[in-house]
Symmetry: none
Subunit: 195 residues, 2 copies
Amino acid sequence: MARNGQEAVAEAKRSLPDLIVLDIMMPKMDGIEACRIMRTMPEFKNTFMVFLTARSEEYSEIAGFNVGADDYIAKPIKPRALVSRINAILRRNAPAEDVTDNKLEIGDLVIDREAYLVFQRGEKVVLAKKEFELLYLLASKPGKVYTREVILKNIWEDSVVVTNRTIDVHIRKLREKLGDDVVATVKGVGYKFEG
Amino acid sequence: MARNGQEAVAEAKRSLPDLIVLDIMMPKMDGIEACRIMRTMPEFKNTFMVFLTARSEEYSEIAGFNVGADDYIAKPIKPRALVSRINAILRRNAPAEDVTDNKLEIGDLVIDREAYLVFQRGEKVVLAKKEFELLYLLASKPGKVYTREVILKNIWEDSVVVTNRTIDVHIRKLREKLGDDVVATVKGVGYKFEG
DNA sequence: CGTAACATTTAACAATTTGTTAACATTTGC
DNA sequence: GCAAATGTTAACAAATTGTTAAATGTTACG
């Protein structure tokens, strides 16, 4: 159980749960912000996020859904009721068949998150962890430009502070291994995957 | 997981499970009806059917048993408790001769969970318990990378606290006994079985 | 019960890989 | 052409894993 938004994001990245319950009034970073950030991360693509709040404010409700929440539960609620509500959410959102195979196939690349492997035209390419994460992030939404800031938030722990330019070096290594065409520079903005 | 009685029957016919848990209050066709129907089908002759219900009503209980249920579990019940209850039912109804052989054959290995034995190209290899568990876990999904955290959760009791690095030593012993190619390191992530 | 044999865990250090930075070169858009 | 942004390189720092040995637990057996 995380006590604030920052902890929530950190712990969620570590344990990758199927469902996250966010209290809107957590200190430091609130639940809405945590949700917004997690929604930009590919590993939470299939995670359900539910808001829990004491006040039934219109604002909270609207803001929560806008950042990608899947449901909304009003406090006070008895623990048992909360559990059954959560079960209901999981049930109604259960995938028909769970064939979720974390493979990403784009262009001449196959990115297998489970095996931590990348194949290019059938050839195995060995990437270091940060390189892999970077590629996976960009490739999870081909064409979308990721600013260095967003990339940092996604791939680095919150506590770690690194120069923006570090990303450039990792990009360079990706290009070295996969060819210059894989990642495109958008000057003044960031990088994007080229499908 | 089926969401109602009709689905339950359909899915059961498809997958022919050893045990079916029926919720009495499923919509459309309730669990009792599902049980009655399945009991008339020859393919479910040896299938155990267990009822799960929220209310401990006499009616449910009696009606359930009358249609051929094998046991009855009252809700609320914690998932873990449910699992152990189910295991108990399966165990006490286990056929005299357990012909289930949990043999895993991968590459030049044969991993026999029942006998706790590993053969490599026909040669018996003796592994300690932890080594065996570790190999079995990794081999159960070749290619998939297991983080140390996941490995710990799977092989060690929840109460036991051990250093991550303990795993490294067991990996080393596995490599010593089976060769370096069996388990691959994914730096920064974990280990995986190499098919 | 004690002991030997074995299994498990930890700690320490070495080896290796990966990540980061800084400096300088190059490119880009105005 | 100029300034800002990015590319490139290599040195250094940090993190991760490999390896070994010793300490601690556990089990089987006389």
